[in-house]
């Protein structure tokens, strides 16, 4: 396949970056006027925010009722954060807010306007070197369909910041706020545990 082939993901990213976010959002929301077409209300918060996402300051217009997952995916083009249930019941949308794992579907963007937000896109180093947890997943091929993967990885990265040397059981409890519909938990845990080892600089034995 040609390198120039346009994937759906890059197409959507391009559309958003190209400044036609309004039409793309309308497509994604089945022409719902609520996210993009809403008139500003008087009083309350300013809509224009300067969010700190993956170390960058991103200026973005955010509706008062908008969730962080919506802002990340549909305003900033960061579609690595997945929306599974949209009800804090699956964990696919997990991101780090000031290094703490949170469900991006269940937090208002305005509530985290002063915080540091990190998504799966912000894990790899600038030169493309993967984060150790990402590398662990690649090494062990932990996921099946991998829709839940970015949530699992972010939950793990957040957990390891407080518990750098977990047992397999402790890590399982640490990522117990994430579901995998493929029921691939055994391999996922193996991969994430490998990621924890790599984070501590443990060589493959």
């Amino acid at each position: 396949m040609s390198q120039k082939a346009v994937s759906r993901r890059n197409f959507i990213k391009g559309v958003i970056a190209g400044g036609v976010a309004v039409s793309s959002a309308a497509y994604l929301f089945r022409s719902s006027p609520l996210l993009s077409g809403q008139a500003a209300r008087t009083g309350g918060v300013e809509r224009l925010l300067a969010l700190t996402v993956n170390g960058q300051t991103r200026r973005v217009d955010v509706a008062p009722q908008e969730t962080l997952a919506s802002t990340l995916r549909y305003k900033l083009g960061l579609t690595g954060t997945k929306l599974g249930c949209d009800r804090a019941e699956c964990g696919a949308c997990t991101v780090l807010v000031d290094d703490v794992p949170r469900y991006a579907c269940s937090v208002l963007t305005h509530a985290v306007r002063t915080k540091r937000i990190q998504t799966i896109e912000g894990l790899a180093a600038a030169d493309g070197t993967l984060h150790p947890v990402q590398q662990g997943v690649v090494d062990e091929q932990g996921f099946q369909c991998a829709f839940c993967m970015s949530g699992f990885i972010m939950a793990t990265v957040g957990y390891l910041k407080k518990h750098p040397n977990p047992t397999r059981e402790e890590l399982a409890h640490g990522v117990s706020g994430n579901l995998c519909r493929c029921q691939d938990y055994d391999k996922i845990l193996t991969a994430l545990h490998r990621g924890a080892e790599l984070s501590r600089g443990v060589a493959r034995g």
């Binding site: 804090a88 997990t94 794992p101 949170r102 002063t114």
Partner: protein
């Protein structure tokens, strides 16, 4: 799973920077204002559109509502302190481990990272008919859909039902009741303090509300007196999944021993009634008795007096009896985490 999968309908958002500012807002907009703490309960209502609001007051920017402070020999916990912070706080773990344990068993890590202690005790009733927007008693209607011959009511109440058979599923509430905690409630220009037991309301008093909070009022802090510091604690939560689930029944107890006898006790249970219940009759009955299996068995039998199971939740009766028995007898929890 929700049927509506869409963005939340528009509302006006306020983010006060101080308690006074928040109270001013609630004073001006109290009838229509929706107070948003961690939001773990609120977002379900708003996304499903089973409840709507035009004004949201988000409290995340109010620093004075967060954190745990020493207070008159006990602790004062800001209402916006996250459940993770409660579960991990050294002082709580050392002196009031009952509360740390209860907070650590709530839902999932991400929810504990965002959900607050004040929100956990102020959450709405657990009943899928009510939460799906059925026009039941609690929603202002004149029927209970969970108490009909064909209703699915495995998780509903066995005690204290009055038209509504929903339960209060809070895990921290029984622990706070067992610790004689006090709820600090403020409104513009006034403050009142109520015992944790009295913070919760049953349907016999007000079928549409879970707590004594009136419009314009805010739960600002929860005080844990020194009374029960270091007592013998027991907390157990039984649920279908080992994580990320509401309790089928939970129990919290604090006991002080005098020789081999129970000098004083607090026992509270949750998820069996529309409000967490302090079992005062049981507390009085076991005071002065030897701390043994016989006393524990008696406590268990007393706890289920008056229980009226629905079609699918009769299992809660022996479950409650056995949990109260364990809470008095002590020892490692049998089925928790």
């Amino acid at each position: 799973m929700a049927i509506v999968h869409d963005v939340i309908p528009p509302f006006q958002l306020f983010q006060p920077a101080s308690v006074d500012e928040a109270l001013d807002l609630l004073d001006a907009r109290g009838q229509e204002a929706w107070v948003l703490a961690g939001g773990m309960d609120s977002f379900d209502w708003l996304k499903d559109r089973t409840k709507r609001t035009s004004v949201v007051v988000e409290l995340g920017q109010v620093a004075e509502l967060q954190g745990i402070r020493e207070n008159a020999g006990g602790l004062e916990i800001g209402a916006m302190t996250t459940l993770t912070d409660v579960a991990e706080h050294a002082g709580i773990r050392e002196r009031f481990s009952l509360l740390a344990e209860a907070a650590g068993l709530v839902a999932s890590p991400q929810i504990r990272n965002q959900g607050t202690l004040g929100g956990n005790v102020s959450q709405d009733a657990r009943c899928w008919y009510y939460r799906r927007g059925w026009h039941c008693y609690r929603a202002g209607g004149n029927i209970c859909y969970a108490d009909t011959p064909t209703a699915v009511n495995r998780e509903h109440a066995i005690l204290g039902a009055d038209r509504c058979v929903a339960v209060n599923p809070s895990d921290t509430a029984p622990a706070l009741i067992a610790l004689d905690a006090q709820m600090v409630i403020r409104r513009k220009g006034a403050e009142r303090v109520v015992q944790a037991t009295d913070y919760f309301r049953g349907p016999d008093i007000d079928i549409t509300r879970m707590t004594v909070l009136e419009p314009g009022e805010l739960l600002t802090a929860i005080r844990i007196p020194a009374t029960w510091a270091g007592a013998r604690f027991y907390f157990e939560k039984v649920r279908d999944r080992q994580v990320w689930d509401f309790p089928l029944v939970n129990v919290a107890s604090a006991l002080k021993a005098d020789g081999g006898r129970i000098a004083d006790a607090r026992i509270a249970v949750g998820a069996v009634a529309a409000r967490p219940l302090r079992l005062q009759a049981v507390e009085r009955a076991i005071a002065g008795r030897p701390m043994n299996d016989e006393t524990a068995a008696m406590a268990g039998e007393m706890a289920i007096q008056g229980a009226v199971p629905l079609r699918h939740n009769a299992y809660k009766v022996p479950l409650l009896r056995n949990l109260v028995r364990r809470a008095v007898r002590g020892g490692p929890p049998g089925a928790t985490t």
